[in-house]
Structure formats: structure tokens, C-alpha cells
């Protein structure tokens, strides 16, 4: 593939998908909004566009206080999880690496639980919970990586994933123990672990926005270096790249993004596998394209998944993690079967 030629149209398509998902999400709900009005209302908030909206005050409140915060949060979380998945896949040279499978997400959950349970007033602190989740995520990935490397048998790809699953189960066990022990925080923690995009206004969005921004920028900047790292440590070093530093920075950025996403949305699996692999099918394997496109398509994907989660059994809601697992697990099997393991 020729990235320089292809990138602009594909990026436009991706942005169009994201816009479509946002509008679909904004329109659909217990109160059906009119699509044309919603588009005009949203466009009215774009600077330098002189468009006046005819949305009623009640509908505008539904749009801006209920739906948009949730949609934006879904887009941020989806973008972060899929970009982190792509980054982990590049840095570990492992097509099945994913924040969920590597123990990053469960580590983040443990960190966040600790912060909520023992943090006192800190449970509402916008800094403390994501940071504790970040430390937990790094711990999870680190343990999985060390354990996976020490494996004496099996393929390199298989052992990293097995180690990740073992680490994730262990961290989840510790996290469950902690949350069960403390009745007061149990409900708070449990609701959040199931993976849901519940929002109270724009609070959650503002909470994770800085982390998502820092992490995405760091990952995007390293996209070309991830291509270099794909030829292995020795060869990438002979091309003049400090491989260890690239790996450290990318893992830290991906884990920070994952931790922020987990801190507000709980455990949402498989996004980091589905989106990057679909992107690869479209544009080839160069991370120069896979990373930015995963960000945009990941956002669109989770907005649509959330739309399904809140409409399938309306007025009740499915946890969004159930929706992503429903699509993700078969997809995972396809990735395994098509032998992308050789990458």
C-alpha cells in the first residue's frame, strides 16, 4: 500500500463514519430526536459556521446534557482502547495483544478499586483514580511481559497471551476480594467493573480528556517507529533506533490511555483487537496508517456499540462490555485462524 496516496481519502471515510455514528447515537433514545435538527444543532456549535438550530429547549437539554456526554465519552474510550491495542500489538510484535488480554485493563481496575476503596475523599478525585489505574495497568503489562518471556515452552505469541490471561485473572481476583470486603464501596466498584458508559454530565469526559490527549499524541508520534520495531530488536537498532526506549514510551502511553479509559468505563474487552485488525485489512499493516485510523474507527465503533447496548433491550441497558465481547470473541477466533500469528 502507498500510505501517502491512500491516507487522505481513508481518513476522510473514517471521520465520516465517526460523524455518522455520533449522529445516530444522538438521534436514538427513549425520546427520538429529529436527525436534521440534531445536525443543525451540532453544526451550530462549530465555530465560524453561522447555522441556527430550531431544536426545542427540552430536546436541546436531552442532546447536550444526556446524549452528547455519553457519546463523546464512548468515542474517547473506544479511540483509546483501539489505539492502545494497535500499539501493544506493534511493540510486542504480537497480533493478539490487547489491553484486556495483557492484564493492563485488570491492573487498571485493581488500581482504581484501591483508590476508590482506600482513597477516602479521593474516590471523586479526578487525578487520583486514573493515576492509580495507570500504575495498576503498568503493573499488569509488566507482569504479563516478564512472565511471558520466562516461559520455556510454546510460541512467543502464545506465551505472552497466556501470561496475560493468568495475570489478568490474578489481578481480578485481588480486585474482587478488595471490593467484596468493603460493603460501602462494593456497589460503586461493581457497577463500574461491568463496563458501562454511564455519565453524569460532562464530568467523566473532562476527567479523561487530558490523559487521552497525551496518550494519543504520544502514540501517533511513534507510529513510524512502530514500523521499525517490527523487524525485531537487533535490526531496528542497526537502523539507528533505540528500541528499548521506543518500547518503554509506547507501553507507558498505551497503558496510560487504557488506564484512563478503564477508570471511567470499566472493563470493555476486544475493542483493541477488532478495530486495529479491521483497519489492517483495509490499509495494510503500516502503523503510520493503522494507529491514526484505529483512533478514529475505534471511536466510531464504541459509539455504535453503546447505541446497541442501550437500545437492544430498551428501556433496560446491556453493559457495553457484553456487546463488544459478542462481536469480539468470534473476531478473535478469525484472527487466530487466519494465521496472522506469523506477523
Amino acid at each position: 500500500m502507498a500510505p501517502t496516496i491512500l491516507s487522505a481519502p481513508v481518513m476522510l471515510v473514517a471521520l465520516a463514519c465517526l460523524c455518522g455514528a455520533v449522529i445516530a447515537g444522538a438521534v436514538t433514545g427513549p425520546v427520538q430526536l429529529h436527525a436534521g435538527q440534531v445536525v443543525r444543532e451540532l453544526a451550530g456549535h462549530v465555530p465560524f459556521l453561522d447555522i441556527t438550530s430550531d431544536l426545542s429547549e427540552r430536546d436541546a437539554a436531552i442532546l447536550w446534557q444526556l446524549r452528547m456526554p455519553r457519546i463523546v465519552l464512548g468515542a474517547l474510550v473506544g479511540a483509546m482502547l483501539s489505539a492502545s491495542g494497535a500499539a501493544y500489538q506493534g511493540v510486542f510484535r504480537n497480533p493478539l495483544a490487547d489491553p484486556y488480554l495483557l492484564g493492563a485493563a485488570s491492573g487498571a481496575a485493581l488500581g482504581a478499586t484501591l483508590a476508590i476503596t482506600y482513597g477516602g475523599q479521593g474516590s471523586t478525585d479526578p487525578i487520583q483514580v486514573p493515576l492509580a489505574a495507570f500504575a495498576g495497568a503498568l503493573l499488569g503489562v509488566g507482569m504479563a511481559y516478564v512472565l511471558g518471556r520466562s516461559a520455556r515452552t510454546g510460541s512467543r505469541i502464545g506465551s505472552l497471551i497466556l501470561a496475560g490471561v493468568a495475570v489478568a485473572s490474578f489481578l481480578t481476583a485481588v480486585q474482587t476480594y478488595l471490593s467484596q470486603r468493603d460493603d460501602e464501596t462494593f456497589r460503586q466498584v461493581y457497577r463500574w467493573i461491568l463496563g458501562r458508559l454511564a455519565t453524569s454530565g460532562w464530568r467523566e469526559v473532562l476527567l479523561i480528556l487530558p490523559y487521552v490527549a497525551v496518550s494519543s499524541v504520544a502514540l501517533i508520534l511513534h507510529r513510524r517507529l512502530l514500523d521499525v520495531v517490527s523487524v525485531g530488536d537487533e535490526e531496528s537498532q542497526s537502523l539507528g533506533v533505540p528500541t528499548a526506549r521506543v518500547r518503554l514510551v509506547v507501553v507507558a502511553a498505551a497503558s496510560l490511555g487504557t488506564a484512563a479509559a478503564v477508570a471511567v468505563s470499566g472493563l470493555i474487552g476486544f475493542v483493541g483487537i477488532i478495530v486495529p485488525h479491521t483497519v489492517r485489512l483495509i490499509v495494510g499493516s503500516s502503523y503510520r496508517l493503522v494507529l491514526p485510523l484505529s483512533l478514529v474507527f475505534g471511536g466510531a465503533f464504541l459509539v455504535l456499540a453503546d447505541l446497541l447496548a442501550r437500545t437492544v433491550i430498551a428501556p433496560a441497558e446491556l453493559p457495553i462490555g457484553v456487546v463488544t465481547a459478542f462481536f469480539g470473541a468470534p473476531f478473535f477466533a478469525v484472527v487466530l485462524k487466519t494465521g496472522k500469528g506469523a506477523a
Binding site: V231, Q237, L239, G240, G284, S285, K340, A342, A343
Partner: protein, 282 residues
């Protein structure tokens, strides 16, 4: 261009190379030959700055250790014996990796980098395969792809570890002819490790024979590829044939192992009795 003085390498306490001294002139092709485990790969890796060593190594008059990896990658390209091929990557993206030492750390490729890539793809005859995935290439095409990646580094020195491994005789010749024409046209200095003695003799200006980590002979192919030296270091009886055009061919003689055994046992070598072979009791 490459100058080694009293180079020694130990790996995990074991001596791999001892006291190697070698001069490779600019624009020439020197090949390392020697039996398995002689230290050919280790020598290339030491020149590329990938293993710790004692003694002096200079490339283009400077010590590789004194340069950053980036700067070193601009004057020296290393092609390992078993390169890692990211199977899904396109040929063009793979060759573009060779431009890494010229692209800012977090930057992206410039039009000039793409121009260089297009140029080297044409040089190695892969211009029509630029968009193909690496896992769809044949062995010979893969070898040309990695050569193109090394050329994209625009380095004055190329280190090749077994560039013809796993190829048929036609592809072996094509790849080596390609390297030789690039050397002649662009004045690139080549240091390679080659198993096949005939290919080494045909294409190299000079040979260095390594055995057990020591330099045992150095010089032109005519001086190094002698029946005596090959027998001594490879324990292989061969016949040397000089190509009237200047090259050297090494022809293995049949029954090599038996002849050698007979020699060691002081001529007490006896063939199996025919009757025993056919299972007929006398």
C-alpha cells in the same frame, strides 16, 4: 574503509574471535570464509557494533563506538543471516525502513526519502512489486528486498551475512551479481560471510579464512582457496579449478569422508567386501 586491528570477541566467557587483523579497501569486496562456528557472523556483528570486543575497529576512519547508532547506520548497513520479515508489510514500506537514520526521531518520511526508495527498488528490480506483501515474495525476491532496504540507508559499507542462503544457483548468482554491480557503480565497500567457496572465489576481491576464531589465511581467492588449505580447515578434499576469466571454482571430490578417514587411520582404510554388501554368505 574497514580496518580491524587485533580484534577479539568473547561471548559469555567463551573466546569466539582471537587477534583478527584485516584491511578492507574502499570499493572492494572481501568475503569471510571458514567452517561452521569459525566466527564469521561474530566478526560482522563486531564491525556493526553489535557485540562488545577488544582491539581496534575503524569504519571509514572512525570508531563505530564513537558514533551514535543513527550516524553509524548512515555509513554502515548490516544485513543479518535471518532477517525478520514482518509478513504483512508491503515491499515499499519495508524498504522505507532503511531511511530511518535520515528521518527525524518522531518525524515522517519526506518526498526525498520516497524518491530514494523508488530508486533502490528499481536498482534491485522490484519496482513492479512495491505494493506486494512480503509474505507473497519468493526467496530470491525477499533477498532483493532486504538488499534494497540496506541500499536505502545509502551507506558506504554493506555487511552481508550469508546473502545467498537457501537460494538456488540462479538466484545466488543474480543476487551476487547485483551486489557486485552496485559495488562497481557506487563504490560501495562489501564485507560478506559466504559459505559457498566457489561463489566466494568468483565474486570476492579478497578472502579471509577463519577457523576456530583465528585468521588462518588472507589474500586473493587464488592465494586462499588452495586444495591444501581447504583440506586442512574444512577436512574436505577438493579440486580447485581456475576460471580463465579470473575466478576460482572449488569442486568437492566424492568419497571425501572415507578418504579422510583412511588418511587419519594411516592408510588402513578398506572397502566393504562386495559379498557382505549384497548379503551373500561366502
Amino acid at each position: 574503509m574497514i580496518c580491524l586491528r587485533d580484534l577479539s570477541v568473547d561471548v559469555e566467557g567463551r573466546p569466539i574471535l582471537r587477534g583478527i587483523t584485516l584491511m578492507v579497501e574502499a570499493g572492494s569486496w572481501t568475503s569471510l570464509i571458514g567452517p561452521n562456528g569459525a566466527g564469521k557472523t561474530t566478526l560482522l556483528r563486531a564491525v556493526a557494533g553489535m557485540v562488545p570486543f577488544t582491539g581496534g575497529v575503524r569504519v571509514g576512519g572512525v570508531k563505530p563506538k564513537a558514533l551514535t547508532r543513527r550516524k553509524l547506520a548512515r555509513i554502515l548497513a548490516y544485513v543479518p543471516q535471518n532477517p525478520v520479515f514482518p509478513s504483512e508489510m508491503s515491499v515499499k514500506d519495508y524498504v522505507l525502513l532503511g531511511r530511518t537514520p535520515y528521518i527525524a526521531y518522531l518525524g515522517t518520511e519526506s518526498p526525498r526519502d520516497l524518491l530514494v526508495v523508488a530508486g533502490v527498488l528499481e536498482q534491485v528490480g522490484l519496482e513492479r512489486h512495491a505494493r506486494r506483501r512480503l509474505d507473497s515474495l519468493s526467496g530470491g525476491e525477499l533477498q532483493r528486498a532486504i538488499l534494497a532496504r540496506a541500499l536505502a540507508q545509502q551507506a558506504r559499507v554493506i555487511l552481508l551475512d550469508e546473502p545467498t542462503r537457501g537460494m538456488d544457483i540462479g538466484h545466488q548468482q543474480q543476487v551476487l551479481e547485483l551486489v557486485d554491480s552496485l559495488r562497481a557503480d557506487q563504490g560501495i565497500t562489501v564485507l560478506s560471510a559466504i559459505h559457498d567457496l566457489t561463489l566466494a572465489g568468483q565474486f570476492s576481491n579478497r578472502l579471509l579464512l577463519l577457523d576456530g576464531g583465528r585468521a588462518c589465511a588472507a589474500g586473493s581467492p587464488r592465494e586462499v582457496l588452495t586444495e591444501e588449505l581447504v583440506l586442512e580447515h574444512y577436512r574436505a578434499p577438493v579440486k580447485i579449478v581456475e576460471d580463465p576469466l579470473g575466478g576460482i571454482a572449488v569442486i568437492p571430490l566424492r568419497g571425501g569422508g572415507q578418504a579422510l578417514e583412511g588418511q587419519e587411520l594411516g592408510g588402513r582404510f578398506e572397502p566393504h567386501p562386495v559379498s557382505r554388501v549384497h548379503g551373500i554368505e561366502p
